[in-house]
């Protein structure tokens, strides 16, 4: 596991961690990493370098060297991201090995792409949990509006995935065409048993001789663990059809996401947004003929600075990935040790399993505000004073809060701390102490 010295070394790469609060001059304690991670210096420099060195467009549009320099770096970015995801490259029409990874704006766009382009039909079913992020809920609810069916597998009491309920459902419901799940939850950090889920899906496919597609919202998993999406011969292979993520949660720039697709699936689905470089040929006399992927799915002039930064982020992240999850669990354990007694006394509730090892880098607490409104106000003031950055609200998982309202206080606030590789144990303890002080009275 990473030592605190190694973490201090990593922190040197993040200039913003030395940026003091404008009023109280405190250094930031940044614990909102499930939303956006901080950007290391090499990524920021790459974004800057594009702007000052070769601010041209990619996509083989222009013939000057700004454009070719940009295109070369975009290709390198895709290569780096493919490597990070454990994806195998395939031969492209221009003779180069290319990873089946589409650049999107974010996970949301990737999931919308799948929802709109898979060709799901009336009467077919998409399977979800009742704990999906809005981005992996609303696109499928739009499909429901078009005559599709949604099946929600309720999570268990501790918010973990109910594999048995999933198995029974999949074996009996022959209308299921797609399983669309989060890999790791942004609500509580709980990971679904994805390998086991996929094994069930593939077995049912074989036994019932039908296809069931698997699309994964990987926004909260890809930044925290090594993935193997492409090599059945290596351990940890995840035989998914689609896997979406966001670079802004992976030390990359905002506005850049990715969608991995099994190459033959990308070959076979229609484009989502069209125009620009998505086409092979257009005419006013017939509908457009579309280009191969990735061009077919990357419409319009792209955020090239961001794409280049994304590649540098992938390169930066890759050697760290194996250490991130164990380290986050260590940080989470430090926070849980302070907050578990309050959970036991029902002064607050830690969402998900109490065991921090099962919650990755997230600790979300629900605090009642009916009688303790002033306590929450005190916590907020203390957090601002200490320059602790966290997230409060429903974290885009409103549906879970709504369907579990009977297990929540009448009036409450949910506060989420999400940890990452550059956070220190003392930062984690400081944040937990603020909560304990406000809601536990010590």
């Amino acid at each position: 596991m990473l030592t605190q010295d190694e973490v201090r070394e990593i922190r040197r790469d993040f200039p913003v961690l030395r940026k003091r609060h404008p009023q109280n001059r405190k250094l930031p304690i940044y614990l909102d990493n499930s939303c956006v991670t901080l950007i290391p210096r090499p990524v920021a420099e790459a974004v800057w370098d594009y702007s000052v060195s070769h601010p041209g467009c990619g996509g083989h549009r222009s013939r000057h060297w700004f454009a070719s320099a940009t295109q070369t770096k975009i290709a390198a970015s895709r290569h780096a991201l493919g490597g990070l995801l454990g994806v195998k490259p395939v031969a492209s029409s221009d003779g180069e090995a290319i990873h089946p990874v589409i650049f999107t704006r974010n996970t949301t766009e990737g999931l919308n792409l799948v929802a709109n382009c898979l060709g799901l039909l009336e009467g077919e079913t998409v399977v979800l949990t009742d704990k999906e992020h809005n981005s992996n809920l609303c696109p499928w609810q739009e499909f429901e509006r078009r005559g599709g069916k949604l099946a929600f597998i309720p999570v268990r009491e501790d918010n973990s995935f109910d594999l048995e309920a999933f198995r029974v459902f999949l074996e009996t419901d022959t209308s299921t065409k797609l399983v669309a799940l989060h890999h790791s939850s942004n609500l509580d950090g709980v990971e679904v048993p994805l390998a086991e889920i996929i094994a069930i899906v593939r077995r049912v496919e074989r036994e019932q001789q039908r296809h069931v597609f698997v699309c994964i919202d990987g926004a909260q998993a890809a930044p925290h663990m090594p993935l193997n999406l492409g090599d059945p011969g290596r351990p940890g292979y995840l035989d998914v059809d689609f896997y979406a993520g966001s670079l802004h949660k992976m030390m990359g720039p905002t506005g850049i996401g990715f969608l991995y697709g099994r190459s033959e699936c990308l070959d076979s689905i229609r484009p989502f947004m069209v125009g620009g470089s998505t086409i092979f040929e257009t005419s006013i006399r017939h509908r457009p003929l579309y280009a191969e992927w990735p061009d077919r799915f990357e419409a319009g002039l792209q955020n090239y600075a961001g794409l280049i930064g994304a590649g540098v982020a992938a390169d930066y992240l890759r050697p760290l990935l194996a250490d991130i999850k164990p380290y986050e669990r260590h940080l989470n354990a430090a926070m849980t040790e302070i907050l578990a007694p309050l959970h036991e006394k029902e002064q607050l509730r830690i969402l998900g399993p109490l065991d921090p090892a099962k919650r990755g880098g997230i600790i979300t607490v629900v605090v009642p505000t009916e009688q303790q409104g002033s306590a929450f106000q005190q916590f907020e003031n203390d957090a601002v004073e200490a320059n602790v950055m966290y997230r409060a609200g429903h974290f885009c998982v409103d549906s879970w809060f709504n369907s579990h309202s009977n297990r929540l206080p009448n009036r409450y606030m949910a506060v989420r701390f999400s940890l990452y590789v550059y956070n220190t144990v003392s930062e984690a303890e400081k944040a937990a102490s603020l909560v304990a002080h406000a809601f536990g009275g010590h």
Partner: protein, 244 residues
């Protein structure tokens, strides 16, 4: 993205161009294939064939070439010339004969055709031989794809609703299922597995030529066809550079 900058061959005289190039997108074809390749300089080139099949015979045939921005070069020109010669060869034949084309069978016909049309670029038969041998793999693949394209359209129109303009209505999952059953038993399509189903789903509201189903069978058969082209006398100097 490819800009269709070349709608007329710079190698062929106008008489041939008029015969074998379709202006403005080839209206009225019922078999189609396209391929993208990097066969000269560092730019992509695209070749497409448009065929009107009547009673299984090629009634009209034409091709189109598109090159990446401002791209051209000797390799891409050779391929274009070979495509034009294949078109001339196939004119009037049964489309399924595309499967059997070889350099040996092609040469006499094309040589005769060359004399007839006074092909400017192929002044000697050795020149024609070189062009067909070096550039023949891509048109060989294109003609085979055009044959499957036509076959596919026939199967689809027998199975689900197809409007006059070629647009397909699957309706619901049973339409997908019926098509899947019919196509899965044909090796070129069956080998696609889950991708075949996705491609069929993408047919809704689309024509076959616009669809990803076309690119699906093209992808699955490319390697096989390249090898078959090799056994029929066509070398492939552009072998590593194209996929579909």
């Amino acid at each position: 993205m490819l800009d269709m900058v070349t709608r007329q061959s710079r190698l062929l005289p106008k008489s041939v161009v008029d015969d074998y190039l379709i202006a403005e997108g080839a209206e009225g074809y019922n078999a189609f294939a396209q391929i993208t390749a990097r066969c000269s300089q560092q730019v992509n080139h695209a070749y497409a064939v448009y065929v009107w099949v009547k009673s299984d015979r090629v009634d009209q045939i034409s091709y189109m070439r598109g090159s990446g921005k401002f791209g051209s070069g000797p390799g891409s020109d050779i391929v274009e010339e070979a495509v034009a010669n294949f078109c001339a060869f196939m004119d009037g034949r049964f489309l399924h004969e595309a499967e059997e084309i070889s350099l040996k069978s092609l040469m006499p016909d094309c040589a005769a055709h060359r004399n007839e049309c006074q092909l400017a670029a192929a002044k000697t038969s050795s020149r024609l031989y070189d062009v067909l041998r070096q550039g023949g793999t891509m048109p060989f693949i294109l003609m085979n794809w055009a044959f499957w394209n036509h076959k596919l359209k026939q199967i689809i129109s027998e199975t689900v609703d197809v409007r006059e303009d070629g647009r397909i209505t699957l309706g619901n999952a049973s339409g997908v299922e019926r098509l899947l059953q019919k196509l899965a038993v044909i090796p070129e399509f069956g080998s696609q597995g889950r991708a075949l189903e996705l491609a069929i789903r993408g047919l809704e509201g689309s024509t076959v030529d616009e669809s990803m189903l076309r690119s699906a069978y093209q992808r699955s058969s490319l390697e096989t066809l390249r090898i078959r082209a090799g056994t029929r006398g066509f070398v492939d100097p552009f072998a590593p550079s194209f996929r579909r």
